[in-house]
Amino acid sequence: MLPIEAYLVLSAVLFTLGALGVLVRQNPIIIFMSIELMLNSANLAFVAFARLHGQIDGQIFVFFVMAVAAAEVAVGLALIVTIFQARHSINLDRLNSLKG
């Protein structure tokens, strides 16, 4: 059995990849995938700790996170579709109407 650190390292790597993706990419769909990546890295950490401590709580949290993620994607994709219909583009850098 792998030591706990291995899981945590993998989780941290995935999280960092996700975070970088969110920051550098312009396509919101890619950004979404990156966010998914971050969420799942957290899930990985949860499961690893649950296993380590022999408790079920962490695994339950994972389910919550997955549910929330699904809802978030649904709302997000709906937004993207609407935005696309309105502006015929989903390039994030062109969506700056909130500029003060």
């Binding site: 975070a19 994030l92 003060g100």
Partner: protein, 712 residues
């Protein structure tokens, strides 16, 4: 009332009593809902609608006869309760029918005369529709007539004052509807509607008196039931002295309204705007006698209040004379009869006022016969003239005779004359009615009027004097009418071509004529007779038979003959002489030549209507306008509310906003706002609008926080 008594074998039909109301109601419902279809179904439709209504009235008459038969064996009569009405606290009122000799007498008159008039009206309304078009009015007429019979039956058969009042106002409504039956006719198209309104409102003034009487009665007697009230008269008179006087005096106001007595008689002459059968049934034979019935029914109360009795007797007697003076100088055939009705009602009211209750009711019955007869015959005369006029207008040869410039009035007696050869049946029955009304032996009016005069002679000499004078005038104006209408030469082309009415109209006339001629024999004032008085005595001991006083009878007969002779001299001899004068100088009435301006006053009804308008009605209109326009609208609505409150508040708020708010508070608030604005302007530069910028800052923030937590 007494069920044990009803065990004997003689038949009794008391439980049928409610049917006297239900039959007419069924009739009117049938005609309301199906009458329109029936009328459209064909030429027989009119007859069917008319006969349904007549049958409804006729069935009510049959029931009344059955009730009368029952009463022969069960003198005390019976109360037939139908259903509870208002039960609150001590107030316990039922829909219940009081069957006794007095109420059954009224029922017989109402339904009997009513049925005859319904039948007559079938012919009359047929003519009306023929002359004026609009066939739907046929149904409307008979619906209202049935409604009237129902309401009148409620009035006469109730066992308490409030149910009586239902009928009392119900007949008032029917009177309103039927006076205004030709609601688009009359002067300016609105006169008939105005007359209807006048009748209703005047009656309401009387009803106000009735209501107050009911209030006082309930507070002193704790009941409105006839039996209970009459049973407690002595007791109440001891506890509340004056209460009974107040009740009876206020009731007199109601009587004056319904029975057209001074000072509320003014509506009845105008009521002649209605179709003639209505004038006969409602405004002569039945409804207007309701006041007499009320006093007679309340005899126990009136006997206990002698002052009220005197008041009633004098009101009646004064009305009798006063109305007779007006009747002398009218030209409209129906107006003469209308004032005659007021005068005769005065006789009845005077009679019941001085305690001659039986005589009053007796006169009520005979008057119903002969006055209905007179009105219906007058209607026949009018339609005869209209037929003549119609004939002229549509006959090319005769057309030139019709004066185009002025409207032909078929009710004006100056357009009549010589009708006795043109309308034979009408002439004969009219003569019977006239003789009965004038009080000549042996017609019905002689017996009943003489009974009143004989009673008055010893009960109330003032009233006796007034009534005798009125009786003289009665004979005079009836004589005048006869000479003007039926004798002499025709005074208009229409009168020359007048035609007799159809049998459906003349047969009821003949029946009524027979009743008018012989009706007096039901109460001959001799020992061993007095059947009618004894019949009424079964209801209350206050109805006692009158004495026959030969001197009174001779005097009144002599006066009547004299009056007719005078009228003959004036309207036959003198009028013939006046014919010779050129038309411009010829007076329209020989009496005018003698009386001069007095005649004009009498012709204009002593200007009482004008007085009422000037003194009361216009004042009320002014008051209402003043209250509505000035007090309520300009002062209260516009000034107090719109100006004082709204404008005042606006002023206050402007004061607050300009000086206090803008000067003080606002300046402070503005300072606060501009500072905030400046701060915001510098901060807004941070808002780039790029999502990833925000994400980056969030990230950095998180990193900083975590870094702090870790490195702390």
């Amino acid at each position: 009332m007494l069920f044990e008594e009803i065990s004997s074998s003689a038949p009794q039909f008391f439980s049928l009593a409610p049917l006297i109301v239900f039959f007419p109601i069924i009739g009117l419902l049938i005609n309301t809902f199906f009458g329109g279809k029936i009328l459209q179904s064909g030429p027989a439709g009119e007859k069917i609608v008319g006969w349904i209504a007549s049958a409804a009235a006729g069935l009510a008459f049959v029931v009344s006869v059955l009730l009368a038969i029952s009463l022969i064996n069960y003198h005390d009569g019976m109360k037939v309760p139908l259903v509870e009405w208002i039960h609150i606290d001590a107030l316990k009122l039922n829909w219940a029918f009081q069957v006794d000799t007095l109420s059954v007498t009224m029922m017989l008159v109402v339904s009997g005369v009513g049925t005859l008039i319904h039948i007559y009206a079938i012919g009359y309304m047929h003519e009306d529709v023929r002359h004026h078009g609009d066939p739907s009015r046929f149904r409307r007429f008979f619906v209202f007539m049935n409604l009237f019979i129902a309401a009148m039956m409620i009035l006469v058969s109730s066992d308490n004052y409030l149910m009586l009042f239902v009928g009392w106002e119900g007949v008032g409504l029917c009177s309103f509807l039927l006076i205004g039956f030709w609601y688009d006719k009359g002067e300016g198209g609105i006169a008939n509607a105005m007359a209807a309104k006048k009748a209703f409102v005047t009656n309401r003034i009387g009803d106000f008196g009735f209501l107050l009487a009911a209030f006082i009665m309930f507070t002193s007697f704790r009941s409105l039931d006839f039996d209970i009230v009459f049973g407690r008269v002595v007791e109440v008179n001891a506890i509340y002295p004056g209460a009974i006087f107040a009740i009876t005096a206020f009731m007199l106001l109601g009587v004056a309204g319904k029975s057209a007595q001074i000072p509320l008689y003014v509506w009845l002459p105008d009521a002649m705007a209605g179709p003639t059968p209505v004038s006969a049934l409602i405004h002569a034979a039945t409804m207007v006698t309701a006041g007499v019935y009320l006093v007679a029914r309340s005899s126990a109360l009136y006997v206990a209040a002698p002052e009220a009795q005197a008041l009633v007797a004098l009101t009646g007697a004064a009305t009798a004379l006063f109305a007779a003076t007006i009747a002398i100088a009218q030209f409209d055939i129906k107006k003469v009869l209308a004032y005659s009705t007021i005068s005769q009602l005065g006789f009845m009211v005077a009679a019941v006022g001085m305690g001659a209750f039986a005589a009053g009711i007796f006169h009520l019955v005979t008057h119903a016969f002969f006055k209905a007869l007179l009105f219906l015959s007058a209607g026949s005369v009018i339609q005869g003239l209209e037929r003549g006029h119609h004939h002229l207008e549509h006959d090319p040869k005769l057309k030139k005779l019709v004066k185009q410039e002025h409207h032909f009035d078929p009710q004006d007696m100056r357009n009549m004359g010589g009708l006795r050869t043109k309308m034979k049946t009408t002439y004969i029955v009219y003569m019977v009615g006239t003789l009965a009304l004038a009080g000549l032996f042996p017609f019905a009016g002689f017996w009943s009027k003489d009974e009143i005069l004989a009673e008055a002679a010893h009960l109330n000499p003032t009233a006796y004097g007034l009534l005798t004078a009125a009786a003289f005038m009665t004979a005079f104006y009836m004589g005048r009418q006869i000479w003007m209408v039926f004798f002499g030469k025709p005074r208009s082309p229409a009168a020359e071509h007048a035609q007799e009415s159809p049998p459906v109209m003349t047969i009821p006339l003949i029946i009524l004529a027979i009743l008018s001629a012989l009706g007096g024999f039901m109460n001959l004032p001799f020992k061993g007779f007095h059947q009618f008085s004894h019949w009424l005595e079964q209801t209350s001991e206050n109805f006692h038979a009158g004495e026959f006083v030969l001197s009174v009878a001779l005097l009144s007969t002599a006066l009547a003959l004299l009056a007719i002779a005078v009228s003959w001299w004036l309207y036959m001899r003198r009028a013939a002489k006046l014919e010779a004068l050129p038309a411009a100088k010829r007076p329209d009435d020989p009496l005018r030549q003698i009386l001069g301006p007095l005649f004009t006053w009498m012709n204009n009804k002593w200007y009482i209507d004008e007085l009422y308008w000037a003194a009361i009605l216009n004042r009320y209109v002014d008051l209402a306008r003043f209250l509505a326009d000035y007090v309520d609208w300009r002062f209260w609505h516009d000034w107090v509310h719109d100006r004082l409150l709204v404008k005042g508040y606006n002023l206050l708020s402007r004061l607050l906003s300009v000086h206090i708010d803008l000067g003080g508070i606002d300046a402070f608030a503005n300072g606060l706002a501009s500072t905030t604005q400046r701060l915001a302007a510098s901060l807004r530069r941070l808002q780039t609008g790029f999502v990833r910028n925000y994400a980056l800052s969030i990230f950095l923030g998180v990193v900083i926080i975590i870094g702090y937590l870790v490195l702390r």
